[in-house]
Point group: C2
Chain length 310, copies 2
């Protein structure tokens, strides 16, 4: 069973009737004024970060970023969060102190508050879990894509994966390492997009796999023109230099936390006027799956994206 | 720095103005009708459970129980929860399936729903984090104890620790193993208590340490009469047989998840009429700390309780 199938199994076994439960970036519960959004992301040493090149500050910033990005993907505003942390012996003292100092900076930067949590020693690996609470007047789900919609992406994708691949090769180019370690959640853009789009998700596991999740939830098919996806010349050059495959990084590289959305052509015209940045990379038709063409020729990434069940 | 000092440090560094944040069993946020309660507890293999004698079902039930108990300790009703789970290779497939089947049973038993979460492979240890959301019209905090209050406990304490010590000795007495593995959260009693008591906590780290938390938050002193604490004859016998110290288990043994509260003598008279079960074990005076006397003689447990920072 792969991760998507498992999520489907959970959705059917654990029906949620108080709002939207499993299967979107956050849960959605109706509250007095609008909707409460709650998301929970876990980070495990040697799965999501490597302590040999992540500082305590970077782990704290990253943990906040991935959860904030889930709120952004709904078009919501984050409010407060709960922290669960298991730290090995060698993380006590100075490192834990640095972790919390950075967490405090993050609270100030994003105007969010730590509301509680739990901590414990851990036998060997460091892990943490954040539950982030936010709100929205009009949360954007994954299942709203319509035939005829345009597909948009907020910014470049593949830079986080490039940063990680370079670090694995022992190459530290600060810009790309930074994109991998501490991605920037798109809270402001997310709120603006939410006034226009029909569906939205953040790219955590890869462009194709995450776009596939929108299509799967909406019962539609995505057509992507590869040449429309923003890729910088610098990224192309670096890929060439280190023998990395650009299309793999762009299509299957996860953890960019760019926002991916579908919007009707009419609403897209209006959205353009706000000045918010994004790129149109394809459109939605009836059918299923995600199809990517480069200069009219079908291409398929070797790896679809990251799957914890495979 | 010990755990209590660290919590104080976090409370001062991360002020929470939307309600009650760090430092109680759950956070408390005002909502339309009453208060929303949120708690997050983590469970780590080889810290909170041992896979050599915990089944996947027991881990699921235990993870729910400890979080439900935090809601119970506020006098709240649980509603839904978020699950974060990191599973090692050997837990995939059948064991993960059994875990989720039991989780579903728990949802039915406690009338709660799984609302979302995150899952990931984990390099070696199994860990999980649950964030439970509940509500209450009148949540009971730790800081409300008053001089003159009586101190009550909902049921026996020390049985979970006895179960764990026996398992460590290779002795499996199902009743005590069960108390250790899957404690019963006191949701119903908690709601009834909440109509009368001034302060409440659940015993997660040990009677003395958790009562100390109430006293510390309230700026008061607790006087306990050891002989008033309910201890069964069977427990005494088993302690004698296996050379375990009863007072240590009762005073410092954690994870019973009995409820501990303080209540004015007048309200206690009213509460008694409801028929809810509890035992009065001492009273509250001005001052600080927790003092335990046995037949008038001061006793002090060697270990105060479980502290992840020591």
């Amino acid at each position: 069973m792969d991760e998507n199938s498992f999520v489907k199994y959970l959705k059917s076994e654990f029906p949620f009737t108080d709002g939207t439960g499993i299967g979107d970036d956050t849960s959605i519960i109706k509250i007095e004024n609008g909707f409460q959004l709650i998301t929970k992301d876990i980070l495990i040493e040697d799965v999501h970060f490597d302590l040999s090149y992540f500082t305590p500050e970077e782990i704290a910033a990253r943990a906040l970023a991935v959860n904030l990005s889930d709120i952004a993907a709904m078009g919501g505003k984050p409010e407060y969060f709960f922290l669960g942390i298991g730290f090995p012996e060698n993380f006590k003292g100075e490192k834990l102190d640095r972790f919390f100092k950075e967490l405090k900076k993050g609270c100030e930067k994003w105007n969010i508050k730590l509301a509680g949590g739990d901590m414990s020693s851990s036998p060997d690996k460091f892990f943490l879990s954040i539950t982030m609470v936010g709100k929205s007047l009009n949360p954007i789900r994954r299942d709203g894509a319509k035939a005829g919609d345009l597909i948009g992406i907020s910014r470049v994708t593949g830079e986080s994966s490039l940063g990680m691949e370079l670090l694995k090769l022992g190459v530290n180019i600060p810009y790309y390492s930074g994109m991998h370690k501490v991605p920037e959640p798109e809270i402001v853009s997310g709120v603006i997009f939410s006034e226009f789009v029909n569906s939205m998700i953040d790219i955590s596991d890869g462009l194709v796999i995450d776009l596939g999740r929108i299509m799967d939830s909406s019962g539609k098919c995505a057509r992507i023109k590869y040449e429309k996806i923003p890729v910088t010349d610098e990224m192309k050059t670096i890929c060439g230099k280190y023998g990395l495959e650009e299309t793999e990084l762009v299509l299957a590289g996860g953890e960019d936390f760019s926002l991916l959305f579908t919007v009707s052509p009419e609403k897209e015209m209006e959205m353009r006027k706000t000045g918010v940045k994004y790129h149109i990379i394809g459109d939605v038709i009836d059918g299923e799956g995600v199809c990517v063409k480069h200069q009219g020729k079908l291409i398929e990434p070797k790896r679809k994206g990251f799957d914890h069940f495979e």
